[in-house]
Amino acid sequence: MYEIRFHGRGGQGTVLAATILAAAIIDEGKFSIAIPSFGFERRGAPVAAYLRMDTREIRRMTNIYHPDCVICIDPAVSRTVDIFGGLSPSATLVQTTDKPLGALDLPAAVTTVGLCDAVAIALKIFGRAITNTIMLGAFARTTGQVSLAALERALLGSEFRDAGLEQNMRALRCGYDQTAVHHVQREAAA
């Protein structure tokens, strides 16, 4: 079982991203569940969503406390939310940022990092910082846990409130193409 926690802000499509990813994983013949965190959702407020994937049926319909991967689709939400809480050892971070790896303050548990300037891409494609589908592309590129083709098929079946299918398809591919993947050696760390 592979467990993912999404972090973002209301209005960026965090919950929809988890749902689309679940649909793509199921499309590939695997099992997945996705559960949003529950609050009084409003634009700008921190939002989380949880996703599990496995080759076998998943029974637990619970939140995720020890993720193998964190997908953070907002560049600054980590200032107000502990996005690294409970990370599994050798975890993966997929982060939207315009900074280089060296400028990020990462905990020792993070050993794989996918960095994508999704805000810049989103501003070009949507004119607004909607980063969800871009970061799904970044996740596929970073981890290989899902194929780009399956994500594209999942987008075809999705409804978007704020943009069209064609824009989201482009966003997904840009996220995939413009993600830098780093493997962090921790032995030398202080």
């Binding site: 679940a22 199921i26 499309d27 099992f31 998943i58 319909m61 619970t62 999942a154 409804e159």
Partner: protein, 408 residues
């Protein structure tokens, strides 16, 4: 709205519990839907409105001014012969209470999802079984779902049970607010012709009708102390209780037939999981069961002889099945997602203990309450429950209700 990805086979979908319920309503070819949106039910009725707008469901939709009207509209529709559906949660169910009480007495086979929500107050919009439990003595059949797939299948099964002529009662299909309403999972969509064969044409108002060709007084004043009053009233009440009791067999038969048609065999009344050689057990209800089964598997791997009993049908209560499953154990614990204010325990716990009365011996037992107001019930919670119940086998001591999320 959530994504739906048709997979090449065409029958596998990713959807949440609210969409699964709406898909079931469309497959059941419901004639009339009346709705008033309320969290966490809202997206369910939005899906229905969309299916009707898209022509996927040929039904009348009444967007009523409140839940009292919602159910009153459906009573009229059912008396005119329509297959009907609505869904509600928490405060909406409370506002519906007067027609809610009338529906089973009229013997109308209305199906209503309760997308469960904890009740006020303190102010809360999150899941919990308190709303459905608050109406447990009103005479509706109540089934609780574990998975998104079970939400879809049970909503279809509900019509077969409700419209069975020796039952003729309304059915609540309960699915957990938050974890099932918004939880997305992989489901198989049944074929339309399989559902058509399973349900047949609506058979709703043969006994009570608003029909100019069959004029009759529906729900006339009945009872009182004199004349035929008491005996007439007793005849109605007794018939209602008998119909409720027959629903146990109807639910069993309907699940068996559904399994034959689809290959999906959900336990109709209770599910016994790893109970064959268990000497203690936990009892669950609803979506918490998945995490509880995972915890049971872990405990089994550590050579603990623990099993699980999931109650699916809560009304009517499958007392014989529950007693047979638990009587020979040394201890059990019941985990409730709601409270019984009268007895300071969980309502399912009270039912289970009652079911065991009259036997030659009763295992030691304890009530656990958790998952209130949207709180998560995790594998770790069930590890704690298993540990506590396991110790109860051997150690005498207090059996006070355990509040799983309390910070002492």
């Amino acid at each position: 709205m959530a994504a739906v990805a048709p997979v090449p086979s065409g029958r596998l979908l990713a959807c949440d519990g609210n969409e699964a319920a709406a898909l079931a309503v469309a497959l059941a070819r419901v004639d009339m839907v009346a709705v008033y949106p309320i969290t966490p039910q809202s997206s369910l009725v939005e899906y229905l409105a969309k299916f009707i707008a898209d022509g996927r469901l040929q039904a009348e939709l009444v967007d009523a001014e409140g839940e009292h009207s919602v159910l009153s509209v459906l009573q009229g529709a059912a008396l005119a012969g329509a297959r009907t559906f609505t869904a509600t949660s928490g405060p909406g169910l409370a506002f519906m209470f007067e027609p809610y009480l009338r529906t089973p007495g009229l013997r109308l086979p209305i199906v209503m999802s309760i997308v469960t929500r904890d009740t006020l107050t303190p102010q809360c919009v999150w899941g919990g079984h308190q709303d459905a439990m608050s109406v447990r003595e009103a005479g509706w059949v109540q089934m609780y779902c574990e998975t998104v797939q079970e939400v879809l299948d049970t909503t279809i099964i509900a019509y077969r049970v409700a419209e069975q002529r020796d039952v003729m009662l309304p059915v609540n299909v309960c699915h957990d607010g938050n974890y099932l309403s918004y939880g997305t999972a992989r489901i198989e969509l049944p074929e339309q012709d399989a559902v058509d064969r399973f349900l047949g044409a609506p058979d709703v108002n043969w006994h009570a009708a608003l029909d100019p060709d069959r004029p009759m007084a529906v729900d006339p004043l009945t009872g009182g102390p004199g004349g035929a009053g008491p005996a007439t009233f007793v005849r109605y009440r007794r018939g209602q209780c008998a119909g409720m009791h027959r629903a146990l067999d109807a639910i069993r038969d309907a699940h068996r037939e559904w399994g034959r048609l689809t290959g999906r065999n959900h336990a109709p009344l209770i599910e016994c999981y790893r109970m064959e050689d268990a000497d203690f057990a936990i009892v669950t209800l609803g979506s918490m069961t998945g995490a509880a089964k995972d915890a049971v598997d872990e405990a089994r791997a550590a050579h603990r002889r623990v099993g699980l009993v999931k109650v699916k049908t809560f009304r009517p209560f499958p007392a014989t099945d529950v007693a047979d499953a638990l009587r020979k154990l040394r201890a059990f614990g019941v985990v409730d997602r709601s409270v019984d204010f009268a007895w300071n325990c969980g309502p399912l716990y009270r039912e289970v203990v009652t079911a065991l009365q009259g036997g030659t011996r009763s295992p030691t037992s304890r009530s656990f309450i958790g998952g209130l107001a949207g709180a998560d019930l995790t594998v770790e919670h069930f590890q704690d429950v298993i540990e506590t119940v396991g110790q109860m086998r051997d150690v005498a001591g207090p059996r006070d209700t355990v509040w799983l999320d309390a910070q002492e």
